[in-house]
């Protein structure tokens, strides 16, 4: 069953068109990842879905609720983890959760129970009475998530919930989200970390410059790569010798299969082991020096690179 349906979403900020016709849908119980580099339009898309501002054009439906027209109806069923930590710093974790719980319509013993339960989930029961301002970045992020799940939302939308935190907190968060999803909560997760999206999401949309450039299950996206690994050769003076290298490689690979990036030559191939020695040999022939060789299994990063010629992270 389809829970969220987003059609031809556009948003302009003055001259700048941040989102240029985004279309996707999310099924109930699914975890959907929106992967894209900084400034791709992830947050802008999310902000329209959560009803913070209306789209310039396009439609958003949660079940049959028109989110653009009746945002308050939809917002009751959505839990949002904003990209920025949105908590009252001078209040304790307990007070913050209690406040957001009440805003989402909980009260009385049900509220208390829920707050305790969420504190347990985010692993902060022992710090509940401490001011949020005294927390580490990772702990704040966890409270930030806690505030979004108090009311058992049908749809949990998370906008880069792991930005700038230690690996330990990050793992905790990822596991928590995975758990919630396995218990039946539908999740939309945006990130520019492909590992997170790969780990969490059944279906993925890759967004760049306000456009979804590819979408599908991890498997489908990998198939787009025709299961090709990446061979990354770091070469001294690759730029100066690009023409020579080009010439040498042209005999062995089709143009689509290799590209230059910074001081690297990247070659896409299904069976990297088979071509590696030949490749190294050819490049060395041009008189350049290879300083490192790296083979990367097909992943979302390579999909993005393949589609845009750029890395996800700069």
């Amino acid at each position: 069953m389809e829970l969220l349906n987003v059609q031809h979403l556009r948003k302009s900020f003055g001259q700048l068109e941040a989102v240029k016709g985004v279309t996707f849908s999310v099924k109930k119980g699914e975890s959907f990842g929106l992967l894209g580099p900084n400034g791709a339009g992830k947050s802008t898309t999310i902000n329209m879905i959560t009803g913070l501002f209306p789209p310039t054009s396009g439609s958003i439906f949660l079940h049959d609720i028109d989110v653009v027209k009746q945002p308050k109806q939809a917002q009751k069923r959505i839990g949002v983890v904003p990209q920025e930590i949105a908590l009252y710093q001078e209040m304790s974790a307990w007070e913050n959760l209690k406040f957001w719980g009440r805003i989402y319509g909980l009260n009385g013993s049900q509220l208390t129970r829920k707050v305790e339960e969420v504190l347990e989930i985010i692993g902060l029961s022992d710090r509940a009475k401490d001011k949020v301002s005294t927390f580490s970045g990772g702990m704040k992020r966890r409270v930030n998530i806690g505030a979004a799940i108090l009311h058992n939302p049908e749809l949990l939308i998370m906008d880069e919930p792991t930005v700038g935190i230690d690996p330990q907190s990050r793992n905790h968060i990822l596991e928590t989200v995975k758990q919630l999803n396995e218990e039946g909560m539908t999740v939309i997760y945006t990130s520019h970390y492909m590992e997170e999206v790969e780990y969490l999401c059944e279906r993925i949309g890759i967004i760049d410059h306000g456009v979804v450039i590819a979408s599908g299950t991890l498997k489908e996206l990998r198939e787009k790569m025709e299961d090709r690994s990446r061979i990354k050769l770091t070469i001294d003076g690759v730029k100066e010798n690009a023409a020579d290298i080009n010439k040498v490689l042209a005999g062995h690979f089709s143009e689509k299969e290799f590209q230059f990036q910074d001081n690297q030559l990247i070659v896409f191939h299904k069976e990297p082991q088979l071509v590696l020695s030949e490749l190294v040999h050819s490049v060395t022939e041009t008189g350049t020096r290879i300083t490192s060789v790296d083979i990367v299994e097909p992943n979302l990063e390579s999909v993005f690179l393949h589609l845009t010629g750029r890395n996800l992270r700069d």
Binding site: N47, T50, G51, L52, F53, P71, K72, Q75, K76, I78, V80, P82, E84, I85, A86, L87, Y88, Q89, E90, M91, E95, F99, W100, R102, I103, Y104, G105, A147
Partner: protein
């Protein structure tokens, strides 16, 4: 509407958690009032002492009672010798002697009292005026006794005991107004500190916008109306708590009266709403809390000066009084004066109320427009 309450209580709570706000809203105004209000009240409590020198007889007893009706002085009966000493030692401002030939002097229309003094101080001017009035009253009573064929002391006693009789007062002192003055000063401080406190609180919206909780509220099921109402109600309550504390403090410290509560309560509410609007307006036209604080300080202090919060407007030149009409504090103070002095000219009060309403509407219009909902 049930989401108003959590927002309201959160803001009250966070307000009372901020020690600075606490100091600003309660400690400072009470301290200021205590110091400045105390000054003018204390000067009144150390009443100037006047000695009375008189033989003991029925008539003199009544005259002394009459004199003692002026509570602005402390009257002490002394022997002539001691009284002279007191005057020369500056212990008393003067000694008033009731002469033995008192009745003859009435008939002869001569000065009734002999006054011993060293210098004609301001207090003496007041005393002198009072003595003149009393003398006139005494002579009239003497004539009345004559026509009524009653004894002079009986008639005097009748005059003295009559509650309604107030001895003519030509004093230059403004003592009857003293309490109102003190009250107004305290109210002035209350208004100023409330403006600081509430606009500080209102500028917290700017902080909230920056730290994301504002955005989070907007995408929660809480409606705009609920959010705004929650915020504004919390400011209103903060303002009232501050005012109520001050009212209590004033009563406790100076024992002064507040005029009719049925006027004071709604009027104070209006002033608090106006001040809330002011804070909202400032928060609406600047970008950061720091800017709001800076603008607040400048605007509040200057308008309080212009509006007669620090000193009565009667003492400033006329053009300044005209300028004062452009700031809400002058109207607020004027209304408080009407209510607390008990004079309650409904015309003046109505004008004050209408002016305050006008300011309130303008402030809110600007303030709410500046509240960003995206």
């Amino acid at each position: 509407m049930r989401r108003i309450f959590p927002i309201l209580s959160l803001h009250l709570k966070s307000f009372f958690k901020t020690p600075a706000a606490f100091v600003l809203m309660f400690v400072m105004p009470v301290l200021f009032s205590w110091i400045f209000g105390g000054m003018s009240v204390n000067s009144k409590q150390n009443k100037p002492v006047v000695n009375i020198v008189a033989d003991r007889n029925e008539t003199n007893t009544e005259i002394i009672k009459l004199l003692k009706k002026d509570k602005n002085f402390k009257w002490e009966t002394e022997t002539l010798k001691k009284a002279r000493e007191n005057v020369s030692n500056d212990m008393v401002i003067a000694a008033v002697a009731i002469p033995e030939d008192f009745q003859e002097r009435i008939i002869g229309q001569r000065a009734l009292f002999d006054v011993i003094l060293q210098k004609k101080s301001q207090d003496y001017q007041a005393l002198n005026a009072y003595l003149q009035g009393s003398a006139r009253l005494i002579s009239s009573s003497y004539q009345a006794a004559d026509t009524l064929e009653a004894s002079f002391s009986d008639v005097l006693a009748g005059v003295v005991n009559q509650k309604g009789i107030v001895v003519e007062r030509q004093t230059i002192e403004k003592n009857p107004d003293n309490h109102v003055q003190v009250n107004l000063m305290v109210v002035g401080f209350a208004i100023m500190f409330m403006m600081f406190g509430l606009s500080g609180a209102a500028s917290a919206i700017l902080d909230e916008r920056r730290n994301g909780t504002w955005g989070r509220l907007l995408i929660s099921p809480a409606r705009k109306g609920e959010i705004i109402t929650g915020y504004l109600l919390s400011y209103f309550i903060m303002g009232w708590i501050q005012f109520a504390v001050l009212l209590a403090a004033i009563k406790f410290m100076f024992g002064s009266s507040w005029g009719s509560l049925s006027y004071l309560v709604p009027y104070t509410s209006l002033v608090i709403i106006m001040v809330t609007g002011f804070g909202l307006m400032i928060a609406g036209i600047v970008k950061t809390k720091q800017q709001a604080m800076a603008l607040n300080s400048v605007l509040i202090v200057s308008t309080c000066m212009l509006g007669g919060v620090y000193w009565p407007l009667d003492i400033v030149p006329e053009f300044m009084q005209k300028i004062a009409l452009a700031v809400p504090q002058s109207w607020a103070m004027s209304g408080f004066k009407e209510i607390m002095s008990g004079s309650l000219h409904s015309g003046i009060l109505l004008k004050d109320i209408l002016a305050l309403l006008g300011f309130t509407v303008v402030f809110f219009a600007i303030g709410l427009r500046g509240m960003k909902f995206e």
